[in-house]
């Protein structure tokens, strides 16, 4: 089942002579439960691409369908609510709200939705992430790896349609990197969580099911490496 579909997505910055085509007429789709890695050299448009998918940056033209919803047809408020419930975003750094505890940061999307937190699900995720003893700490009291784990927890809490990660291990040492990727993979396999990761690290890309290479704003290659 197609959980994500993009049609002729384009993003142009600037105009006239200084116009830069960050994305040039990209189309593709992702099935539910797929683990996709997106790689490409710097400046190729990977981040732009991811943010289009996450409903964070509007495209110049084209459509993005997530679970059959044309997300850019929604207005600002509807889009925010959609993001809250259906999209999990993880960045390279500064993911967390400094004034909220680990627990609050993780449950933030639910709190914004005024949704009740399912205590069992919360405990499960916390345990898998190994954050049981850090629930009342503030982000500045955690290491980089722990902070990323909190971000993953936050992204997962709502069981979103897609989870997007932009260089999630870029700021971490190799041991932490490995752990983070393992966690993501685990969630992808056991919960059928659709996962799209941007990375420039080939070793990480090779852990995915499908690798898409972006060059100059276009999909250069789209390989399924694992079934």
């Amino acid at each position: 089942m197609e959980i994500l579909k993009i049609e002729q997505l384009s993003k142009v910055y600037g105009s006239g002579e200084t116009a830069v085509k960050a994305l040039d007429d990209v189309s593709f789709s992702v099935r539910k439960g797929e683990f996709v890695a997106i790689i490409g050299p710097s400046g190729s448009g990977k981040s732009t691409f991811l943010h289009m998918l996450g409903g964070v940056d509007r495209p110049t033209s084209g459509k993005v369908w997530i679970e059959n919803t044309d997300i850019y047809a929604l207005n600002e408020t509807q889009l925010a609510v959609f993001r809250r419930r259906q999209i999990g975003l993880i960045y390279q750094f500064y993911n967390l709200i400094p004034v909220l505890t680990v627990e609050e940061n993780m449950t933030l999307p639910l709190l914004l939705d005024q949704h009740q937190v399912d205590p069992q699900q919360f405990e499960r995720i916390v345990n898998i992430l190994g954050l049981q003893h850090r629930l009342n700490h503030l982000p500045n009291q955690l290491s980089g790896g722990q902070q990323q784990r909190v971000s993953i927890g936050r992204a997962l809490m709502t069981q979103p349609a897609i989870m997007l990660a932009d260089e999630p291990t870029g700021n971490l040492d190799s041991r932490n990197s490995g752990e983070i990727i393992d966690l993501l993979k685990m969630f992808n396999k056991s919960y059928k969580q659709t996962l799209i990761v941007i990375t420039h690290d080939e070793r990480i890309a090779l852990q995915a099911d499908r690798v898409i290479t972006i060059e100059d704003g276009r999909i250069a290659r789209d390989e399924v490496i694992r079934v």
């Binding site: 600002e76 993001r83 975003l89 993911n95 400094p98 909220l100 914004l112 005024q114 936050r154």
Partner: protein
């Protein structure tokens, strides 16, 4: 120039917006200090000049001085010039058509006197010898006695006396029935000029002013009015000493003028002025310092990264510190001169506007001019430089300690503990997660939060304190004015009253308001527990003043005409019908009055009687009969024309119907007509033309006008001040809040990426501003109340009235605080919202 300074300059140039804000902040602050100082001095200058224009210029007067004593005065070190004056007396003006002004009043001046006193020649020249005179043009105009230059006058000049009074009557005593001229001597004069009626001739004076000359070879005594070289506080002591040395008995002072030099011999007044100035000055300085400090603190914290970078390149602590001082120096050099000029220009423009509104109003003839003294410039300069230095010192110290890595990572911004940002569970439950995040945001940066709240508190305090100061001032002036609220008073005694005359006066052309009052004196016995506190003191000292446990009050029963009664009843809040029934006589009793406690040298507000609505008074008249009158209402308001009495006297206001029924002997009544007129001098003349001999006429508008002038000028001053202060506060708050928001761009972007809706975002911002506002008010209002009380106590040295909280102003404050904070946040929030989430996420904190 060394490299660190070069970098500083470049950095400032690059971050134009931030630098501009810093510069503007300092300019505003400096301008305010300059403006306030200039305002104060210029006002004093205006008041000095206005008083001189109306009353003449002199400081100390030695009375009844002989020639040899005069030499001593002239040679005294402090004496600049000496005006000689002498009252020669009165002479009959033959053929005067003005029954109330049948005399010529002759006074002599030396040539300096003619110069320094406001005397305006309309024709001819001033007298230069003892047999020459100038006469008031009114002699021809209102007395209809033709007088021309060249006429020779032969006058029997003497003193006015009336029956029992030992002293002779002065120009302040109007013409009395039965008075006569005594001790007359013949003098002859030649008229050499005609003058306009002097402003210092009272409107009810019985003599037209005639001025002649004193020459240095005079005989007898003169009054010597001295113009001092310098007006200082020590002049009183000095004058007393000099008078003693020379054997002069009486020394007088022109306190009306002296006080505008800040000099007074009234200790209480002095401490009042002093305390007030001290409080205002402190408040200004605190406001100014807080603005400049804030502005620099923010500028430096934004340069933190840059400074840390310097460290990594090898700059020492001192170099980093000096970088901040250098910034202060640069900003100061640009801002201070501009600020001073802006302050002066601003005041200049304000004065120009005020002058056009004020000219001629209330008889103000002088206009405000911007007085710039070196003292002001130095003060403004000094205060600003000091402030900038202090404001940069602390950030400089901090800057010198920033290490490279801290600056680059910018982690020192977030040295939080969960305790620091702990909020109550209820916040989330009642207001939602957005509000909770908002509140935590405030708590995270304690210092910035405190700075903003402090700023708000200062503004609140300044606003409330200064407006309460103005209100106190107005109240003080009201109290000291003795409640004169009319222009002309016409009086007649019982038998001579004629309604027709009364009506024709009330309907004269320029009369704008009139009130006809009848007065009857009576007595009432009031039981001890109800009498005024001052009377209780009297009773303690002299128990015999109580008879049968009751004190005898004097009653002034006054009736108002129907129209005035209706207006008054409404003012007081009583149904007028209650007052109209002669069968059930009821009265409005004025129980709260101002009065001057001469012993304590204070003005106090007192309760004349401790009674309740519904109580009854037994009114006893001369013949012994008594009638019961019910108290329909108690008030502190006086109808036009009725003046406060003192302790032991009660004012009862009744209707004409009740009065007619009450009065036993109509001959005992006094009739008063109080008028307000658009041209009181003309109305006075018209009334005098009626030639009703039994009328007495008092024209008091001049004195009243002066007091009102004063109140108006003071109000302008203080409200101008308030506007300046508010401007500063608004600038300060906007600055702080917009900075704190723009520093959080990345976080906001993140919140939005996680799914906070625009409405949720708005909610968060709104709650932050509400929390700011509430915190600021929680501190600001109690502090203001304490300060207001202190001011009240300071003023209490001269005036005594109860302390009331200015609820309306407090309400205004509340509204203003939330509006200001709210708009600052919404404005900054809107800018952040418009930004792309993506750009926000990538944002570095400037």
């Amino acid at each position: 120039m060394n490299i660190v300074n070069k970098l500083t300059i470049r950095h400032l140039k690059q971050n134009r917006r931030r630098t501009l804000i810093t510069i503007i902040g300092v300019i505003i602050s400096v301008a305010m200090v300059t403006a306030v100082a200039t305002l104060g001095i210029s006002f004093m200058d205006l008041l000095q000049r206005q008083t001189i224009a109306t009353d003449g210029e002199w400081h100390v007067v030695y009375q009844d001085v002989k020639r040899d004593q005069l030499r001593g005065i002239r040679e005294d070190g402090l004496t600049k010039e000496v005006i000689l004056s002498r009252d020669l007396g009165y002479a009959r003006l033959e053929g005067s058509q003005n029954v109330r002004k049948p005399y010529l009043y002759i006074r002599a001046y030396n040539s300096l006197g003619f110069e320094k006193f406001p005397i305006e020649l309309s024709e001819g020249r001033l007298p230069s010898s003892v047999d020459e005179v100038v006469v008031s043009e009114e002699i021809a105009q209102t007395a209809r006695v033709p007088v021309a230059i060249g006429d020779r006058l032969s006058l029997d000049v003497g003193e006015r006396h009336v029956a029992e009074i030992a002293n002779s009557l002065t120009q302040f005593d109007s013409w009395q029935d039965g008075e006569s001229l005594q001790g007359t001597k013949l003098e002859t004069y030649t008229v050499v000029g005609i003058i306009k009626r002097p402003t210092w001739e009272p409107t009810w004076a019985p003599g037209y002013t005639v001025l002649t000359y004193i020459d240095e070879g005079f005989t007898g005594t003169v009054d010597a009015a001295v113009i001092l070289r310098e007006v200082k506080g020590s002049l009183y002591a000095h004058a007393e000493v000099l008078a003693k040395e020379l054997g002069i008995e009486t020394v007088g002072y022109n306190n009306n003028l002296l006080r505008f030099y800040g000099v007074t011999n009234n200790d209480n007044l002095r401490s009042t002025l002093f305390s007030l100035s001290a409080i205002i000055m402190t408040v200004i300085i605190v406001g100014s310092v807080s603005l400049i400090y804030n502005v620099f603190a923010i500028s430096v914290s934004e340069r933190a990264r840059h400074l840390g970078m310097l460290s990594s390149v090898g700059a020492t602590k001192r170099q980093k510190r000096n970088s901040v001082f250098f910034e202060g120096f640069l900003i100061g050099t640009i801002s201070i001169p501009i600020g001073i000029i802006a302050g002066l220009v601003g005041i200049g423009i304000t004065f120009w506007l005020i002058n056009s509104a004020m000219q001629g109003a209330l008889g103000v003839t002088e206009s405000l001019r911007v007085v710039v003294t070196p003292a002001i410039l130095l003060t403004a300069l000094g205060v600003s430089i000091l402030t900038i230095f202090i404001s940069t010192y602390i950030p400089a110290m901090k800057a010198s300690r920033i290490t490279a890595i801290e600056a680059i990572r910018q982690t020192n911004d977030i040295k939080l503990t969960s305790k620091a940002v702990k909020t109550s569970k209820w916040v989330r439950k009642l207001f939602g997660i957005e509000a909770e995040i908002g509140l935590k945001n405030l708590k995270r940066n304690k210092r910035r939060y405190r700075a903003t709240v402090f700023s708000l508190v200062i503004s609140i305090v300044l606003f409330l304190v200064v407006s309460s100061f103005t209100a106190n001032l107005k109240k003080s002036l009201e109290l000291s004015q003795d409640g004169v609220n009319y222009d002309i008073q016409v009086t007649v005694h019982g038998n001579d009253f004629a309604q027709g005359v009364w009506d024709s006066i009330a309907s004269m052309g320029d009369v704008t308001e009139s009130s006809s009052i009848r007065e009857l004196l009576a007595n009432a016995w009031v039981s001890e527990e109800k009498i005024a506190d001052q009377l209780k003191e009297v009773v303690k000292k002299d128990p015999s003043s109580l008879v049968d446990g009751k004190f005898q009050y004097e009653l002034k029963i006054q009736s108002l005409d129907a129209e005035s009664l209706k207006v008054y009843a409404e003012q007081v809040g009583v149904r007028v019908e209650q007052l109209l029934d002669p069968e059930h006589p009821a009265a409005v009793v004025i129980d709260t009055l101002p009065f001057e406690d001469e012993v304590a040298e204070k003005y106090v507000e007192m309760k004349a009687i401790h009674a309740k609505v519904g109580d009854r008074l037994d009114v006893v008249q001369g013949s012994g009969g008594s009638r019961e009158v019910e108290i329909a209402a108690l008030t502190d308001q006086f109808p036009m024309g009725i003046l406060p009495s003192g302790a032991g006297v009660l004012n009862l206001i009744v209707s004409e119907q009740v009065m007619d029924d009450l009065v036993e002997n109509p001959e005992d009544m006094f009739y008063f007509l109080y008028l307000k007129s658009s041209d009181p001098m003309k109305t006075q003349q018209q009334i005098e033309e009626l030639k009703e001999l039994h009328l007495s006429l008092y024209n008091v508008y001049q004195a009243r006008e002066r007091e009102e002038q004063m109140v108006m000028l003071m109000s302008v001053f203080t409200y101008g001040f308030i506007v300046l202060i508010t401007a500063i506060s608004i600038a300060n708050i906007f600055n702080t809040i917009s900075t704190s928001i723009s520093l959080r761009k990345r976080e906001f972007a993140m919140l939005r990426s996680v799914g906070m809706t625009p409405q949720g975002f708005n909610k968060m911002i709104h709650y932050e501003s509400i929390f700011y506002g509430v915190k600021a008010l929680l501190f600001g209002i109690p502090i203001s109340i304490v300060l207001m009380y202190w001011i009240h106590q300071a003023v209490m040295n001269s005036f005594n009235f109860t302390f009331t909280l200015p609820w309306v102003n407090i309400l205004w404050c509340l509204v203003a605080v939330f509006v200001i904070v709210g708009s600052a946040m919404v404005y900054s929030g809107a800018k952040v919202k418009k930004e792309n989430i993506l750009d926000g996420l990538k944002q570095e904190s400037i």
